[in-house]
């Protein structure tokens, strides 16, 4: 019985089902007596299937997240948290301070500096790696010799663990002995302080992150290209559309749903891209390449005294910024008729 009930509630595919779901929820709600039992009977398969994920995420993210938000409202630091010194147990003595940390952050010039650089970093990384990924995907989508080989080589950066590649880049960037400077030297150009000059370091970390990010874009967009029916291009060609027109009016619209997901995810990932910056420059020189995440990390692990409340407040700010971005982004997609 239950099986049939559910079957009717699962129309072909998933995307256009929002109205259906709303109706479903309403009918469940009107039958108040035994509503929970009925819902259980109808949905227990689904709930059982998502339960492991919800439990794991709830425990591992939920608690730390709740605790992080709580800490962000206190003045906890190294000196007043609960701790053990030898056999002595020292209870926590920090106080609830409300939104003080947040007002302090908003007034802090450092925050706006870091936010500006984080936005620059995210936008340039996502935009350039998307553009490069798209360009290469279009090239690879043609009939060419050695296509499979090119594809394997181009997505290789993805196969190498990120911290290994970052390490390789550090070898290349090394000011005295790195190969980049040796090559420039051969051309009569003085050694370039790739990671030691504020502006160049910014350029370098962005370059490395783009290098790391292109394969993901390439693979996703290549797949998207392959799902565009070839007949569309042939028809357009017969109508005399130029290559640029074909790209503009067939390729780009055909890639829209792939791109929207890919851009959303890689924006979130890049915004919080801790390893690249931390392993490449440690945020330096000075704090010129420090993004919000690495700065928050520095507050709680590097600086002394370790400022747990401040770091948590920075973390909450990051979360709020990304949530706002995701909401706006999703809304603008919805206007174009795409829902997830």
């Amino acid at each position: 019985m239950t099986v049939d009930a559910r079957q009717s509630a699962d129309p072909a595919g998933g995307m256009d089902s929002t109205p259906g779901r709303a109706v479903k929820a309403d009918t469940t709600r009107t039958r108040t007596p035994g509503r929970i039992r009925r819902a259980l009977a109808t949905h227990w398969y689904a709930w059982a299937m998502v339960a492991p994920v919800v439990i794991v995420i709830g425990v591992i993210i939920g608690y730390p997240l709740g605790r992080g938000i709580y800490l962000s409202l206190t003045n906890a630091d190294e000196a007043n948290v609960e701790r053990n010194i030898g056999v002595n147990h020292i209870p926590a003595t920090y106080d609830f301070v409300g939104l003080d940390n947040f007002t302090a952050i908003l007034k802090d010039e450092v925050f706006w500096d870091r936010l500006g650089w984080t936005v620059t970093w995210t936008v340039s990384c996502v935009a350039v790696s998307f553009a490069l990924g798209l360009g290469l995907a279009v090239l690879l989508n043609r009939q060419i010799k050695g296509r499979a080989i090119y594809r394997s080589l181009l997505i290789l950066p993805w196969a190498v663990p990120a911290f290994v590649s970052v390490f390789a880049w550090r070898l290349l960037f090394n000011e005295k002995n790195g190969i980049l400077n040796k090559i420039l030297d051969g051309g009569g150009i003085d050694a370039v302080p790739w990671l030691n000059d504020p502006t160049l370091a910014k350029f370098s970390v962005i370059a490395v992150n783009i290098w790391l990010g292109v394969p993901f874009m390439l693979v996703a967009l290549l797949g998207g290209l392959q799902s565009i029916p070839g007949e569309l291009y042939e028809a357009a060609e017969m109508d005399g559309a130029s290559p640029w027109q074909r790209f503009r009016h067939i390729t780009l619209p055909g890639l829209r749903s792939v791109s929207s997901t890919v851009i959303l995810l890689s924006t979130i990932w890049t915004f919080n891209m801790f390893p690249v910056i931390f392993l490449l420059t440690r945020g330096g020189p000075g704090d010129s390449t420090e993004i919000l995440v690495t700065y928050a990390y520095r507050l709680s692990f590097v600086n002394s005294p370790r400022d747990f409340a401040g770091a948590s407040a920075w973390g909450v700010m990051i979360l709020l910024i990304l949530l706002a971005f995701a909401t706006v982004y999703r809304r603008s997609l919805r206007k174009q008729g795409e829902v997830w």
């Binding site: 949905h43 689904a46 995420i57 605790r67 090239l139 290994v164 997901t261 919080n272 690495t294």
Partner: protein
């Protein structure tokens, strides 16, 4: 007739265009391959020449011998393999069930779940480390592989579940229906009919989970304190602190860490394009 004509027209490319195409792809491939390749070359150089830019003058295996014999490399490898294997198997399984449930059933809490999967990727993990460390120590899981397995699952599963949902969306619902007509319950349908069809998606998910767990440094260094408990990625970091920046050993170890990843990658690669797109298009 007309169709074949246009197709042949598209294939006929001027030699110049063809040259440009290959040149672009060659340059791009070179840029993609060069850094890891340089690492490989460096790993064969004797310690004193780690930074010299010559191609290896007298290739040596000293670095590899040192890493294998004089460090805990093999212990770390064992730890890594254990953690990664369990993470991958569990991660693929729960990502698949979640993806399937979200793709096929309309149930209360589905939309919040999709948001939850997205939001978990937003909170900076750098901030989560301290509270997580406290949980792990309360549970007595520090220095236990389970702490890493559970943590890596939360990192990898949200994206994988999204991807699997998109993939299941491309499998026709009629297949589920035919299974139910034959008397299978939803679990049976999922396990016997859908999972076999979803193999490309599963391969992508497996690769993603693998590489997440294989390459993770921060949690592994935070939760594993004893040197014999470290994973490869965390162990590699000790070369810089402890052995006064032994770059030669580090390159050799990095190569040995990258090789298994590359092998898994080449296995999953055949499925990569199909699997990821499905995820990206529909999710």
């Amino acid at each position: 007739m007309a169709a074949t004509k246009t197709r042949s027209q598209r294939n006929r490319r001027s030699p110049l265009a063809s040259f440009g195409l290959h040149l672009t792809l060659l340059i791009a491939s070179a840029v993609a391959v060069f850094p890891p390749l340089w690492l490989l070359v460096t790993s064969f150089k004797p310690k004193s020449e780690a930074f010299s830019t010559d191609i290896v003058k007298d290739p040596t295996l000293t670095n590899y011998r040192y890493v294998l014999n004089d460090t805990e490399f093999l212990t770390w490898l064992g730890n890594s393999l254990f953690v990664v294997a369990i993470t991958t198997v569990l991660g693929v399984f729960i990502a698949a069930t979640t993806g399937y449930a979200v793709s096929r059933f309309r149930f209360p809490g589905m939309r919040p779940l999709m948001w939850l999967l997205l939001v978990t990727q937003m909170f900076p993990m750098a901030i989560l480390i301290v509270p997580l460390y406290n949980i792990m120590s309360t549970l007595g899981w520090l220095n236990q592989p389970i702490s890493l397995i559970v943590t890596y699952l939360t990192v990898a599963v949200p994206f994988c579940a999204w991807m699997m949902k998109g993939f299941f969306d491309t499998i026709p619902v009629e297949i589920d229906e035919s299974g139910r007509v034959d008397g299978l319950n939803p679990f049976g349908t999922f396990w016997r009919l859908i999972v076999p069809l979803a193999r490309p998606g599963l391969a992508v998910t497996a690769f993603y989970t693998f590489i997440t767990a294989w390459a993770e440094v921060a949690y592994a260094s935070a939760f594993m304190t004893g040197e014999q408990n470290l994973t490869l990625a965390a162990g590699l970091q000790t070369f810089v602190n402890q052995y006064s920046s032994n770059w030669g050993a580090m390159t050799a170890a990095a190569v040995m860490i990258a090789v298994p990843a590359a092998l898994v990658f080449s296995w999953a690669q055949r499925h990569l394009v199909a699997g990821l797109t499905a995820g990206a298009t529909k999710s």
